[in-house]
């Protein structure tokens, strides 16, 4: 062996390292740097100012928006976990025959291949004041006023999030469940465990890695989102992503960068905590 494994390793990893250096590390460094810069109406100039952070941390809106971001992440996480786990559980343990399992699984993944924006806007004719949902409820006489909160509300935002991201929960959980040795379930059954006891004492503990990976996906996707919130709340609600994108739209890059730095730290912190519970490389 002529070259050391370190050299060979780096040669093979070089393209990845280069892409990450150029399109992740440098940009993030630049964001950090620019977060201290100043801005005019149309341009940014190098400086070392705390203004952007000062403004950010002094505005009550910031806290509200961060709170909103966590709120969306938490609620979406809880719902996607509940739905994702149930669906994965059904597929993995109640559907017989691998062909059926895979077929049903694929059926779940198909909508994932459609444009997110289109999936999102498809809710509008459904949920609107005169949308299908309201019409149906009116026709059935369940309500006599259209429900306003179906669209352009936190409800619709979370609905869209759940719609977009549940699959990110289903996939890793299903994957982990499929690797659970079936004889463990029989052993539990043999030991007198009821279906629910088996679920709680055997399946859930063994599915934790999948749940963690799904959680990482959903939490980061929701925390970094800016477009779903804008669309589905009719611009009425905001999360941190929107704060940033609004700043960007108004050419206030340093201010956007400062917010971005805070968001990045928050997300990385959350993920670092989650990663303590799972060894991603091993669980794949």
């Amino acid at each position: 062996m002529a070259m050391s494994r370190h050299v060979v390793g780096w040669m093979q990893a070089a393209p990845l390292a280069l892409v990450l250096a150029g399109f992740l590390v440098l940009p993030v460094i630049l964001i950090v740097v620019v977060s201290f810069w100043g801005a005019t109406e149309w341009s940014i100039y190098p400086a070392f100012l705390w203004d952007n952070y000062e403004f950010l941390f002094s505005s009550p809106v910031t806290y509200r928006v961060f709170f909103n971001t966590f709120k969306y992440a938490l609620i979406t996480w809880a719902l996607t976990l509940g739905i994702g786990f149930t669906v994965a559980y059904f597929l993995a343990f109640h559907v017989r025959g691998q062909t059926t399992q895979i077929a049903l699984f694929l059926l779940c993944t198909i909508p994932f291949w459609t444009s997110n924006i289109i999936r999102m806007i498809s809710w509008i004719p459904f949920l609107g004041r005169n949308g299908i949902a309201n019409q149906t409820l009116l026709d059935w006489g369940l309500i006599n006023q259209p429900l306003e909160w179906l669209l352009y509300s936190d409800f619709s935002v979370i609905l869209a999030f759940v719609h977009l991201y549940t699959l990110f929960m289903v996939v890793p959980i299903f994957n982990t469940m499929m690797r659970i040795d079936r004889s463990l379930l029989e052993a539990a059954y043999d030991n007198g465990a009821s279906g629910f006891q088996t679920l709680w004492h055997v399946i859930v503990p063994l599915t934790k890695p999948g749940i963690m990976i799904g959680t990482i996906f959903v939490v980061t996707l929701v925390m970094g989102d800016f477009i779903t919130v804008r669309f589905m709340s009719g611009s009425q609600s905001a999360n941190v992503g929107r704060l940033i994108s609004n700043d960007i739209a108004l050419l206030q890059y340093p201010s956007a960068a400062a917010t971005a730095v805070v968001l990045l730290c928050t997300v990385l912190l959350v993920i670092a905590i989650l990663l303590r519970f799972v060894n991603i490389r091993k669980e794949l």
Binding site: Q12, A13, F23, I124, P125
Partner: protein, 278 residues
């Protein structure tokens, strides 16, 4: 395991509702895309026609759907190839620990979890400060890779975790060089997974919005164009586009499954003694 339990039916019902939830909106717009020429974006249907599909192929008042489609297709293919090549190389690298591999791994994870808008913003700023022009095929391409590569890498981890090293030893034993091992043994064996990585890379790119938003320059990719349309179009033509994009995605999956199926068929041609004690 004979009779189905009650919980099976409850869960099956739940699963059905989930599918309905998943497909409901897509089906809604699929139906609405068949609106009559006078129809609007909402129910009730105002006649039934293919008008909006036809309209989609006419020039729109604003924008350039088909140009955007071509760009997205091309960009998707570029990202696909890059993702496969780079992920495989990195996957090979990560099979052995090398100095700094931990840092690189966590960078890749960061790349996966970092909010997309930061990449968009950062790359936009970077190109601006360096005096480069942003363009979908340069800055857009790179930004999308920050999203597809970690996925590709994770898939490669999964693949190599299951890869039996004795294949390589056998090949080395048979006199294959390092390159020959990769080319004649590793790549063919992991080929099905690579098709998966390719498909994934393509569609992640084809549908990527946030990371391309500030990095694509003068020409829109399809998701950006669709986004533009949501703000510039008031007719069901956008639903027709949505329906067609969905069909296009389905076609790609079908093609993929078909390939896998045909390959399987071809292989089973010679019968099998597998599992028999002979």
């Amino acid at each position: 395991m004979g009779k189905r339990s009650t919980s099976f039916y409850v869960l099956a019902g739940f699963f059905g509702l989930f599918l309905l939830f998943l497909y409901g909106p897509t089906i809604t717009i699929a139906i609405l895309s068949f609106q009559g020429p006078q129809g609007g974006l909402t129910f009730p249907m105002n006649g039934v026609s293919l008008h909006w599909f036809h309209d989609l192929f006419q020039q729109q008042a604003v924008g350039d759907i088909w140009g955007a489609f071509r760009r997205s297709l091309l960009l998707g293919l570029m990202v696909m190839v890059a993702t496969v090549v780079v992920s495989v190389m990195a996957g090979l690298a990560f099979r052995k620990r090398f100095k700094g591999s931990g840092v690189l791994f966590y960078l890749a994870i960061t790349s996966l979890v970092i909010p997309s808008i930061l990449i968009s913003l950062g790359v936009g700023l970077l190109f601006d400060q360096l005096g480069f022009k942003v363009h979908w095929s340069t800055s857009g391409f790179g930004s999308q890779l920050t999203w597809t590569l970690p996925f590709g890498l994770l898939i490669m981890f999964a693949v190599f975790n299951r890869f039996d090293k004795s294949y390589e030893e056998a090949a080395r034993d048979q006199g294959a060089s390092a390159w020959q091992i990769i080319w004649h043994v590793i790549l063919p064996i992991i080929a099905p997974s690579l098709i998966g990585v390719a498909l994934f890379g393509f569609t992640l790119s084809y549908d990527e919005f946030a990371r391309t938003l500030l990095t694509s320059g003068s020409y829109n990719t399809l998701p950006l164009e669709i986004y533009g349309m949501t703000t510039n179009v008031t007719t069901p033509v956008i639903y027709a586009l949505g329906t067609l994009t969905t069909l296009f995605s389905l076609m790609i999956i079908a093609l993929f499954l078909l390939t896998v199926w045909v390959m399987g068929k071809r292989r089973s041609r010679f019968g099998s003694d597998a599992g028999k004690g002979v």
